[in-house]
């Protein structure tokens, strides 16, 4: 495996990037004199100089497309900085060490400005404003919903109101980002190597920012050491590294430091909700007005997560009267990027906490409350108030399986027994709906993708596809589809991804889409080739083409399997006897096909709703925890999940995706938290000693069961896998912790449930009870 940092070009130099220490400040002056003279330094650049050669970075998803506000994002700050960590100046040196040493010698004078890092505070009329041409700090405010919430609340037997603060946390793949740019002066073109999830759209972004044609940019994405959304583009360093290469005349590499990866944020939202229901636990009304603190507005697709959190409410529950208001606030924290789950994880967490709160207020079994509110299997396709047209599923069956898998009665008995000893065991359930394979109208977040399948005269198969793999195994799974269709062996097939010069145009990897789109496209292309192989094989085998099967590298008669011929020979015949045996079968053995899934609705319906997802995977999660009420420490003891992602190509790959996502969700529930110092506005969790992620001993084995309800809207019935797991795990663990603390009647309104937070809640409650 060759990752970005393993690539070395002749005469390669290294970029060093100076970042702002202030969350909000005017740049008075930058003096590069000392840095330019430093050892090994070839070149140095300020934001003002960069702006002479570049245009703003196009937004991956422009808020303007949805009626919001936007701002110019540049590769180096121009005039002022809006977050601590914003790139301010850069150097090119002959080694990483020299580049790092040189940036210390850049002299910048700042005039610090008042700043705001809290989402609610940023909405106050007198809050410091990030962008002077905006009249507030709101990127966009969007309502979702339907029915008559006011009337439904008035009629509701019970109403509860509460709040949930979801912390800022991010995906943190173990491989940080990295880019290499190589400007070819004579060809006037860039070759850009980057750990990128979306090479083709990135090519377009680079061409815009760098003022060149798309044909002057080639993007090559090497193996990626985990991505999870973080390696979607719009980052300032992408175009910066290109510009540095052009201006310095050297190939330039930049590899991110972990403290820089940790700057990239996501997911921080504060939900204030109200739910109306009857004594049977049936929910009739829901209101959720939430604020997402997206930090400064970046060009990556981060802010869009909040949009989809709102759109996905109320997940798979049949609630007809819904009032959602999404407020996307900018603050002086560093920008977001996309993070696995893409906002739907927050929806799942909030909905699942709501269900458990309803259950608790009625003293009902939370499983039963879910059963009474989930969409029933005969009701699909089901259109939610947010506009989602949910394709298929059997949520009740999945719930039953989860109950059985975990042995709920035994767990509850054990819970009672342990409570006698003063020990707090808890069990928590979560239903999770994961819309997958999205398409955002008017953006290069496309819902389709394209694959090419070729077979050479020697029978070798090559697949080229517009989707990329972040290391989750979609390359192998796509190959498997093709190999099965063509009857050849894995040893005779290979796949190429991630090079904009050789692969068909495609959108890359996000939204659990790779198999649904790239996999189906490869399937269609393989079918085209199969038809030709079968036709010519039938002529060679002197039989009807319905009497030919392909398998194990051979074409054979179904009626008489002893009559067979290697598929390679059939291929050779097609290329060499085009005017005889293979006449009428058009060579070459090559097909490029695009797969457009059904169900996507780009044009708004009468209620203004669009449906951006073709298909919806679902899962039921269950977690068992023990909470130590002396220390607040949560011990996750068992974890089970019933997962339905439609047809499964390769169960182990699907399970691997789910297991990894669950681990992330457990981290989100219990420990992961990006914290900014309120006094300085600077990120304090800038390494893995302060930003804690789950280690092996924090997790149990994950028990997985599959349920298969194929999607009616995708060719193979796939629903996509990869995004699911985060919200489900975060919710199941959170519900389990609350269940463990039920004897104390505690509700914790701030995530994550770290020992400190849990202990604080226990102590606070104990004090209350004493009064």
């Amino acid at each position: 495996m060759v990752y970005i940092d393993d690539i070395r070009l002749p005469n390669m130099h290294f970029a060093g990037i100076l970042r702002s220490p202030h969350p909000h400040a005017r740049i008075v002056s930058i003096d590069l004199t000392r840095a330019r003279r430093a050892e090994g330094v070839e070149f140095a650049l300020t934001g003002a100089e960069a702006a002479e050669h570049t245009d703003p970075i196009p937004h991956f998803i422009s808020p303007l497309a949805f009626g919001g506000k936007s701002t110019d994002v540049r590769c180096l700050a121009l005039g002022k900085v809006v977050y601590a960590g914003e790139p301010v100046a850069a150097v090119v040196a002959d080694s990483r060490q020299n580049a790092e040493a040189a940036i210390e010698l850049i002299d910048v004078e700042y005039e610090p400005l008042p700043f705001v890092i809290d989402g609610d505070e940023a909405l106050a009329a007198d809050a410091p404003r990030l962008y002077e041409d905006w009249d507030d700090n709101v990127v966009i405010q969007i309502p979702f919903g339907g029915g008559d919430p006011a009337a439904a609340f008035a009629d509701a037997e019970h109403v509860i109101e509460d709040e949930l603060q979801i912390q800022r946390y991010s995906t943190q793949p173990i491989e940080p980002r990295g880019y290499i740019a190589d400007w070819d002066k004579s060809a006037r073109s860039y070759t850009f190597y980057g750990a990128s999830q979306n090479p083709h759209p990135l090519k377009w972004v680079l061409s815009r920012a760098l003022r060149v044609k798309e044909s002057q940019v080639r993007v090559i994405a090497p193996a990626v050491g985990g991505a999870f959304g973080l390696k979607m583009h719009g980052h300032p360093e992408e175009s910066l590294v290109c510009l540095l290469s052009r201006l310095s005349g050297k190939p330039v590499k930049w590899i991110e430091d972990r403290s820089e990866t940790l700057l990239i944020g996501a997911r921080e939202q504060t939900h204030r909700f109200k739910v109306g229901f009857n004594s049977q636990g049936k929910i009739s009304a829901l209101k959720d007005h939430f604020v997402a603190n997206v930090g400064a507005l970046g060009a990556p697709p981060g802010w869009g997560m909040a949009f989809l959190t709102g759109m996905s409410i109320p997940t798979g529950y049949k609630i007809e009267n819904v009032d959602v208001l999404v407020t996307v606030a900018t603050t002086n924290k560093s920008p977001w990027n996309a993070a696995r789950g893409y906002g739907k994880e927050a929806t799942n967490l909030v909905m699942e906490r709501i269900i458990d709160l309803v259950a608790r207020s009625l003293d009902m079994d939370p499983v039963e409350v879910r059963r009474r509110n989930l969409i029933e299997s005969h009701e699909f396709p089901y259109k939610t108030t947010g506009g989602l047209n949910i394709d298929s599923g059997d949520y009740h069956a999945a719930l039953d399986k989860a109950v059985e898998m975990i042995g709920l009665d035994d767990v509850r008995a054990e819970q009672m027994r342990l409570l006698q000893e003063g020990r707090h065991l808890g069990v928590g359930f979560a239903f999770e709906l994961t819309p997958e394979s999205g398409d955002i109208p008017g953006t290069l977040v496309g819902g389709f993708d394209t694959s090419t399948v070729k077979m050479s005269p020697s029978g070798e198969v090559t697949v080229l596809t517009g989707v990329t793999t972040p290391g989750g195994g979609n390359d192998t799974s796509i190959l498997q589809i093709v190999v099965d269709e063509l009857g050849v062996t894995m040893a005779d097939a290979s796949i190429l991804q991630g090079d904009t010069l050789t692969t068909p145009y495609g959108f890359g990897n996000y939204s659990g889409r790779s198999m649904v789109t790239g996999g189906n496209a490869a399937y269609l292309a393989a079918c085209d080739i199969r038809v030709k192989l079968v036709e010519v094989a039938s002529r060679i085998l002197e039989t009807d083409n319905t009497d030919v099967e392909l398998g194990g590298g051979f074409a054979r008669r179904i009626s008489d399997p002893s009559r067979s011929i290697p598929i390679a020979d059939v291929a050779y015949t097609i290329y060499t006897l085009a005017f005889a045996t293979a006449t009428g079968v058009e060579p070459p053995l090559e097909s490029t096909r695009t797969y457009l899934p059904g169900n996507i609705q780009q044009t708004p319906d009468a209620d203004g709703r669009i449906n951006i997802y073709p298909t919806y995977s679902n899962a039921v999660h269950v977690a068992i925890v023990e909470v130590d009420i002396e220390t607040g420490k949560v011990d996750l003891q068992r974890y089970g999940v019933v997962h339905d992602c439609g047809t499964i190509i390769n169960p182990r790959f699907v399970e691997g995706q789910m297991e990894g996502a669950i681990a992330m969700g457990v981290g989100a529930a219990l420990m992961e938290h990006s914290i900014h110092d309120p006094e300085t506005g600077v990120l304090t969790t800038n390494g893995f000693k302060s930003y804690l992620m789950p280690r092996a001993s924090d997790l149990p084995m994950i028990e997985t069961m599959h349920q298969v309800t194929p999607s009616p809207y995708t060719a193979l019935g796939l629903k996509g896998a990869g995004e699911a797991g985060i919200g489900g795990a975060q919710a199941a663990v959170s519900n389990a912790v609350h269940n463990a603390l039920a004897p104390l009647d505690i509700t914790i309104r701030k995530m994550p449930l770290s020992p400190g937070t849990v202990l604080h809640a226990i102590k606070y409650r104990e004090k209350e009870l004493k009064k």
Binding site: A38, P173, G471, R652, K689
Partner: protein, 193 residues
């Protein structure tokens, strides 16, 4: 202004003696990756927290981002490139990680392999908890550790199986002709698969 003069060192890397002149500020991981060109050792944090940079120095598992290159003078270093006994065959541990989906993106894999090797040397039959403890210094963001735990268990079982076979062969060596020995070894392998 100081210029950073190189310092001469000699190390044995994967059995091969190498002389090098290195910048005193350079960490061991950069020396291995950049100067020696052995890029199988990865970098995830440079603060000793992720384990992507794991190698062995004089037989001990170390995180090479925490040491300076110069400190490795005269040491014996083993990187992932020298992990398998031969370049054609994966080791038992590597095969187990392959079979059990013990990795996805592969970035953490070298570190996990070294930790597994060290664990199995000390403890040929580790429990799940012992495995988790052994790899606790190494972060994996893709697998949730699930496949890794299974891979380590499988590696443990197959290592002891291989050991048993070796022992049996040694017992019978006296009696068997060379041809039969090979036969038996092959038969053993077949019955396993």
């Amino acid at each position: 202004m100081t210029t950073h003069e190189g310092v001469g060192i000699n190390v044995t890397v994967n059995g091969e003696s190498r002389d090098a002149i290195i910048d005193v500020r350079e960490t061991l991981v950069d020396f291995i990756r950049v100067d020696l060109g052995l890029t199988g050792t990865h970098v995830g944090c440079r603060t000793g927290d992720c384990g992507a940079c794991t190698v062995t120095v004089d037989g001990e598992v170390v995180k090479s981002c925490l040491a300076l290159g110069v400190s490795a003078d005269k040491a014996e270093i083993r990187t992932i490139e020298g992990f398998a006994e031969s370049s054609e065959h994966l080791s038992i541990i590597q095969t187990a990680f392959w079979e059990e989906f013990g990795f996805q993106c592969g970035y953490c894999l070298p570190g996990m392999l070294f930790c597994t090797e060290e664990l199995l040397k000390k403890n040929p039959d580790p429990s799940e908890a012992e495995i988790r403890e052994a790899i606790d210094g190494n972060l994996c963001r893709c697998t949730g550790y699930h496949g890794i735990i299974r891979a380590v268990r499988r590696a443990a079982e197959e290592t002891s199986q291989a050991q048993r076979e070796k022992d049996e062969l040694r017992d019978e060596e006296v009696w068997a002709r060379p041809g039969e020995r090979v036969d038996r070894a092959l038969r053993g392998r077949e019955s396993e698969s």
